[in-house]
């Protein structure tokens, strides 16, 4: 037992959480006692004796779990324990529940954890739709309803869509660029373990007096600064999710820039690598803004700093500017990695090079640059300076151009190819093109100020964001999970069940979210538990499709679990793809490569006799004339 507590792991993590939590709790009590204040401050936004432990306990868990062991020894000048790689790779399922520095283990940890949050958030969506099936209040009362849609959105955004892409890329990206691991494996593990803590803080807020946070995922001040305790858990959860996201993005940037295999120039990187390079550029620069603005709200609540208290000279609208300066780029953080996945899947299953590869990469960079200059389109009716509207409208409309380039280039990739549609991944990728086009079109309409004035804050917005986040991001996530499932598990999934899941999801998505446009334009506001009688029939139809969409996901869960356990063994390269991750076994060996591969050509050279992307160890093929092996060259 003593030994179990000394070793990094769950027991020591639990002990750390309790010890650090008790320390935070005691500190608040003692300081308040010394200052002559009531030890417990339970005024609506106060609760320092809960907020401080909610910060220290997760840190204590991370410390106890072993996330800082190596660094702390080093920082303290103690002899570091030579790395015996015992924390690397997984030999049994138990290794997935430990602090593990293998990017492949971390990738799987990410994907499984985030999907658990996806299903919790999905259950909340089912409750929301049950309440909305009929006008009036039947299942949950208004304040619980507000908590439900707020938590639903926050779980989906901060602990599903953003990190699941980080998880998929964690697994695939080092393999794709021929690297043995990420640049900073320990930081990578720390990034992952912060994520479930963020999710627990979000969900744990349901236990707070006054219920979970209920000011929407946007948490606009001053509704959020005056909200009950649950709001502080949102403020804190975002810090953990944000820190996780920023550290991962730094890790990706360094990995992509410095660890590419010899010969992999920038123009030979698969588009998934380009997509994650672009996403990481957005994350490192934008995410600090939401971390900052949530701290400002927390300080307003707990320390009375008055950033957003209008009565004390605070500025209410500045919250929205800072929030959207992150949260619009966040939309692309949630989409660009999906663009990368779709490029890989379509090129592979159409057996054709990506059409206009360089323009595809440049379009990603174009989106990165433009996405910093469009945030105020979320605020056309917010009462901000009126002259800001027209320039923000024009940049918003222009961002449709690089997105359109991507759509047309994917379509161009299909022409004169040999399109195989047996893979569920390809079905999701093709459906994504059409569904995302709808989301893009409604996005352009929303970018136009006069239309936005009418439909802003209505169900039209709900329809739009679900078309881009569900029909867009989630479709690409499914494509990615199906595509790399054989690589990650070493087994094949059942394509028949995959098809059932695909068609059910496609019909469910359109059936649920298309009519939302109509009720929105016709006058139904968003974020309401109750609505006018006239929208009753449409909402009943929407709810029926939503339940169907929810139920069909069980097929996916069944398929994934059963195939992981019993599926037929997968080859190294079941899709006959070119990129490097498919040239190793499934799942790949513990350090990925016996010998670092040598890249000699582009990643999508289908149909060119003798063309190769990379030469693997032991292949001994001749290097084409004029080929130089340059590490990290960017010519």
């Amino acid at each position: 037992m003593v030994d179990a507590i000394k070793r990094p792991g769950w027991w020591r993590g639990l002990l750390g959480a309790i010890a650090f939590g008790a320390f935070g709790f005691g500190l608040v009590l003692i300081l308040r006692k010394i200052s002559g204040l009531d030890p417990y401050q339970t005024e609506q936004t106060g609760y320092p004796h809960v907020i401080v432990p909610a910060i220290t306990a997760p840190l204590g868990f991370l410390a106890g779990f072993g996330c800082f062991d190596y660094w702390l020894r080093w920082a303290a000048g103690m002899p570091t324990i030579p790395d015996d790689h015992s924390q690397h790779g997984a030999k049994s399922w138990r290794d997935y529940f430990k602090f593990n520095t293998d990017h492949k283990v971390i990738g799987v940890q990410y994907v499984v954890t985030t999907f658990i949050f996806f299903f919790i958030g999905g259950l909340m969506a089912m409750l929301i739709r049950a309440e909305l099936a009929q006008p009036g209040t039947q299942i949950v009362e208004a304040s619980t309803y507000n908590s439900l849609f707020s938590t639903h959105a926050v779980l989906m955004i901060f602990v599903f869509v953003i990190p699941v892409f980080a998880g998929l890329a964690n697994y695939v990206l080092p393999l794709m660029i021929g690297a043995p691991d990420m640049a900073f494996p320990r930081l990578n593990a720390l990034s992952f373990w912060m994520l479930p803590l963020a999710g627990l803080l979000f969900i744990g807020s349901f236990l707070c007096p006054g219920g979970a946070f209920d000011a929407g995922w946007t948490g606009y001040a001053p509704l959020s600064t005056g909200a009950p305790l649950g709001q502080s858990f949102f403020n804190l959860g975002v810090q953990f999710a944000g820190a996780s996201s920023i550290a991962t993005a730094l890790n990706f940037l360094v990995t992509i820039i410095t660890m590419r295999a010899p010969g992999m120039t920038f123009w030979r990187m698969p588009l998934l690598v380009w997509a994650n390079l672009s996403t990481s550029l957005l994350v490192v620069a934008a995410t600090p803004f939401i971390a900052g603005v949530q701290f400002m709200v927390l300080f307003d609540r707990a320390l009375h700093t008055n950033f957003f208290d209008f009565a004390a000279g605070g500025d209410v609208i500045s919250y929205q500017h800072i929030f959207w300066f992150y949260s619009h780029p966040a939309v692309y953080i949630m989409m660009l990695p999906g663009f990368g996945i779709v490029s890989e899947v379509i090129s592979t299953h159409a057996r054709k090079p990506i059409f206009g590869y360089r323009l595809m990469a440049l379009a990603l960079i174009g989106i990165v640059v433009l996405s910093y200059s469009v945030w105020a389109h979320h605020m056309f009716v917010a009462g901000m300076f009126s002259w800001l509207r027209v320039p923000m409208m024009l940049t918003t409309l222009l961002i449709a151009v690089p997105t359109g380039i991507k759509i047309f280039s994917w379509l161009g990739t299909l022409y004169f190819g040999k399109i195989h549609t047996y893979s569920t991944a390809m079905l999701f990728a093709l459906a994504f093109i059409v569904t995302f086009t709808i989301g893009g079109i409604s996005g352009v309409m929303l970018g136009m100020v006069p239309i936005d004035i009418h439909v802003s804050d209505t169900y039209f917005i709900v329809a739009h964001i679900h078309f881009v986040l569900f029909g867009g991001s989630v479709f690409t996530i499914f494509a990615g999970v199906y595509h790399w499932f054989p690589k990650m598990t070493g087994r094949m999934y059942d394509e028949k069940l995959g098809r059932v899941h695909f068609w059910g999801t496609l019909i469910g998505t359109w059936g649920t979210f298309i009519p939302m446009h109509w009720v929105g334009m016709d006058g139904m506001p968003r974020r309401v538990a109750d609505y006018a009688e006239q929208f009753g029939n449409w909402n009943l139809l929407i709810s029926c499709f939503a339940f169907m969409l929810g139920a069909i996901q069980l097929v996916f869960v069944y398929n994934m679990i059963v195939s992981w356990r019993f599926g037929p063994k997968a080859d190294g390269n079941p899709w006959r793809a070119n990129s490097i991750e498919w040239q190793v076994s499934s799942p790949p060996p513990i350090f990925n490569f016996d010998e670092i591969p040598r890249v000699v050509g582009g990643p999508y050279e289908f149909g060119i006799p003798g063309a190769k992307h990379a030469i693997m160890a032991g292949e001994g093929a001749e290097v084409p004339a004029g080929e130089k092996s340059v590490v990290g060259s960017s010519s």
């Binding site: 507000n146 159409a350 380039i405 022409y415 004169f416 093109i433 802003s456």
Partner: protein
Amino acid sequence: MYGRLPIVKMLLVTIASTAVISAVMVPINWNGQGASTAAPKIDHLLNVMIVLSSFVFSLVVVMLFYALWKFKAKPGDESDGEPIHGNTRLEIAWTLIPTIIVLFAGGYSWKVLDDLEQKDPHHLTVSVFSQQYAWSFAYPGKGYAYSQGELHVPVGEQIQFKMHAMDVIHSFWVPEWRIKKDNVPGITTTAVVTPDKVGTYQLVCTELCGFGHATMRAKVVVEPKSKFEKWVEGLDQELPEPLMDVLKEGSATNAPDLGAGGA
């Protein structure tokens, strides 16, 4: 090599599909009944966008399904497609044409926006107060006439609403007027509307403001000027002190009205 594609036929199918979708969608009154001079302008802009959008959508769908029909691999065919890496002229085209389309849409929207917010020198100013979870209104006159939960305005005259939120952000929306504006604590926001149909409508709060948000509504009555004036005269409630303070401070905390792009 793209000369091998039946480009003219594909384009014809795209145009036919655009025509069909537009013919179905344009006659539908998506935004519901209109009751202000802004409504036809916004609805017309929406219709233009529906036509443009159905063209883009049709183009994508036709391109996708033609490819799936024509280039689907036969069972057992393990060969690769043709090694085509791109086509510079095509890539320039699908960069430039969408740019022109969206800039046109942007310019047109800008013009509509300016039209919507054109100020009439003979307008009536009505103050709007929002608080969790109720609306109230003040009309100019001897002192201020004050009404709670019911807004009356004359038909055919431009109304300038000056909006004040007392606690958190609320948003003022009458769907039939198509006009929406947030009420923000600490500043005064404005919106102009010219109602052009007599009738009774609903004012809906569209910014989440707490548990009573869904039911934060007020009745809106648009009536002939004479009836309106009589109604205002009949109001006998005094403007409460805190609201009066907000009106007095209002001009000091106003966001400057800088013209370009309207109010």
